[in-house]
């Protein structure tokens, strides 16, 4: 008996709510933080899933946006906590500790950078696209390392988590709530977008660019817009991730992180609504459980990944529902 995907999706979302609530009752704040981490990684991967799952764009540089979101938060909060202003010569901008403001900055920044990277990268395709996005990731990574003003290699620490009007973000369950709501909104956006004319055309452009051109649409434009939306969501996740750890470092820009975001989607199911969420939960659970058993847990992660690629195309959702993932 195959599971219906809708039921599976609902169960996952409910589980994601139930675990931290249960942990709240049993007073295990660490579990709440762990689930929050999964939620934020899921959000980042939902963003990537728009470009990769629907649009077929294998971006090996999405850490750029994750890192930009993180550094937007880090830099703004750094200036706020040191009571200094950012000096741009002609004008200066004060820092802030207000999350929504930070998010707006992060999202705007990511949209601009995604537009730029997209314009350049989408001139290429296939392996070249994978490589050029990887190279952009490395570019930001090395830039962050050499940017001594904001901690260079060591990164930036933020003493107190930023504020959200009306909530106490230091209480784990409240911060979880913020992240969960944002994830739910992103999932809603993904779902609507996937079925809207834009998603339908983008999905077709992944499968056959020639057909899309023949009906009078431009695949490049569709993919560019998808890449920007995708980068924005991953960037928002970066800002949340930085706030969860109260720390940003160049590792948020690392190519391993870009790889892990792809891995999350593959584990769950490419192009499927809840693929990134399931992937993130499995990933964080493995990291926690296997990481507790052996320091060499990455070996097992590698073996699991290899088995999924070789034997279980479609990931967890594919296994449970019998539906294959999108072919990228």
């Amino acid at each position: 008996m195959r599971l219906k995907e809708t039921y599976l999706n609902a169960a996952v979302l409910l589980g994601l709510l139930a675990v931290p609530l249960f942990a709240l009752v049993t007073d295990e704040p660490f579990t709440i933080t762990l689930v929050t981490r999964a939620v934020i990684l899921a959000l980042a991967a939902v963003g990537l899933n728009i470009a990769l799952g629907i649009g077929g764009l294998v971006s090996f540089g999405h850490a750029v946006f994750f890192g930009l979101g993180g550094y937007a938060m880090g830099i703004l909060a750094h200036h706020a906590q040191t009571y200094t202003a950012m000096d741009f010569g002609a004008f200066s901008i004060a820092g802030t500790k207000v999350m929504p403001v930070i998010w707006v900055v992060a999202v705007t920044l990511c949209a601009l950078v995604a537009l730029l990277i997209g314009l350049l990268s989408l001139r290429t395709s296939g392996v070249y696209f994978i490589m050029i996005t990887l190279a952009f990731g490395q570019m930001f990574f090395y830039f962050a390392i050499s940017w001594a003003q904001y901690g260079g290699e060591d990164g930036l620490s933020i003493y107190v988590r930023n504020d959200f009007p009306g909530l106490n973000t230091l209480v784990p369950i409240q911060y979880f709530g913020i992240c969960f709501v944002l994830l739910a909104l992103a999932l809603l956006l993904f779902h609507r977008l996937q079925n809207a004319p834009f998603g339908l055309a983008l999905n077709a452009a992944r499968q056959t660019a020639a057909r899309v051109e023949t009906v009078g649409l431009t695949p490049m434009h569709l993919k560019l817009v998808a890449f920007v939306i995708s980068g924005v969501i991953t960037g928002l996740a970066g800002a949340l991730f930085a706030d969860l750890n109260r720390f940003v470092s160049p590792s948020m820009f690392s190519w391993q992180l870009s790889g892990e975001l792809i891995v999350l989607i593959i584990i769950g199911g490419v192009g499927r609504l809840m693929g990134p969420v399931i992937g993130a939960c499995v990933f964080v659970a493995l990291e926690h459980l296997l990481g507790g058993l052996t320091v060499y847990w990455h070996i097992y992660l590698g073996l699991i990944l290899l088995s999924i690629v070789l034997f279980a195309r479609g990931g967890v959702i594919g296994l449970l529902t019998g539906k294959e993932g999108a072919h990228v």
Binding site: R192, L200, A201, Q207, T208, E213, V215, T218
Partner: protein, 249 residues
């Protein structure tokens, strides 16, 4: 005499030393089916790509409804009213039949920038798509995933997507390819009824279909048009018989 819908003048394209098309000129008049025939390697595929904007021409111009579209991209030519079908089906194989036709409707209405409302719940798109499916007789397979369609159904779907564009002219690349006798006959009947809507430039190997449908035939050999005329002209032409038909007779 009215103006041609599609006016192709002096198109040429070379790949290195090979002249794939050489000074090709032809017209497509309102209400007509103009067939292009020729042996394999005659340059038919190259010509279609040049007409539809997939390949930049070395020389020559393409006019659609009197408008010079020579510098237009494929997309712009589609928007200007040129609908193409592919010899080897170019369809979104993971998507349903309806989704493939709705894609045509999205293109026809130039509305890809809708991010919220479901495409399949948008009446304007679905009505246009359903109308096209009805006309080619694919309504029964509306929700079938494209990869599961039979070869013949894919050919029908190709035509349905082109129909959604409500084009000024069709360019069809071997629509009969791979169809059985029965399928060819059905499609021949359908194309016959389509000519009043928009004229068809038909590249086809199936001679029965060509002789049944074509108002005019152009024969392309080694990149050059060696003859243009009615079915009877072409049948009785010695030049054509020597260059082409003779091989088969």
């Amino acid at each position: 005499m009215s103006d041609p819908v599609l006016d192709i003048s002096n198109l040429s394209k070379s790949f290195g030393a090979l002249r794939a098309t050489d000074d090709v000129s032809l017209t497509l008049m309102p209400g007509e089916i103009h067939a292009i025939i020729g042996p394999n390697g005659a340059g038919k595929s190259t010509l279609i790509k040049q007409i539809c904007g997939n390949l930049r021409s070395d020389a020559g111009r393409v006019h659609l409804m009197g408008r010079d579209v020579s510098s237009f991209s494929t997309q712009a030519r589609a928007n200007a009213g040129l609908a193409r079908t592919f010899q080897i089906s170019e369809l979104a194989m993971e998507d349903s039949v309806l989704e493939n036709v709705v894609l045509g409707a999205i293109g026809a209405e130039a509305r890809p920038w809708r991010f919220w409302r479901k495409a399949l719940d948008t009446p304007a798109l679905v009505e246009r798509a359903d109308a096209a499916l009805d006309r080619v007789g694919l309504q029964g397979a509306r929700d079938v995933i494209c990869a599961n369609l039979s070869h013949g159904q894919r050919r029908q779907l190709e035509v349905a997507v082109a129909l959604t564009l409500a084009p000024k002219a069709f360019v069809m690349d071997e629509p009969m390819a791979g169809l059985g006798a029965e399928g060819s006959k059905t499609l021949t009947g359908f194309l016959d009824s389509l000519r009043d809507e928009a004229p068809i430039l038909l590249v086809e190997h199936d001679m029965d279909a060509v002789f049944a449908l074509a108002d005019r035939i152009s024969v392309l050999v080694y990149g050059k048009i060696i003859a243009t005329g009615t079915v009877d002209d072409i049948r009785s032409s010695a030049v054509v018989r020597d260059a082409y038909l003779g091989e088969e007779a």
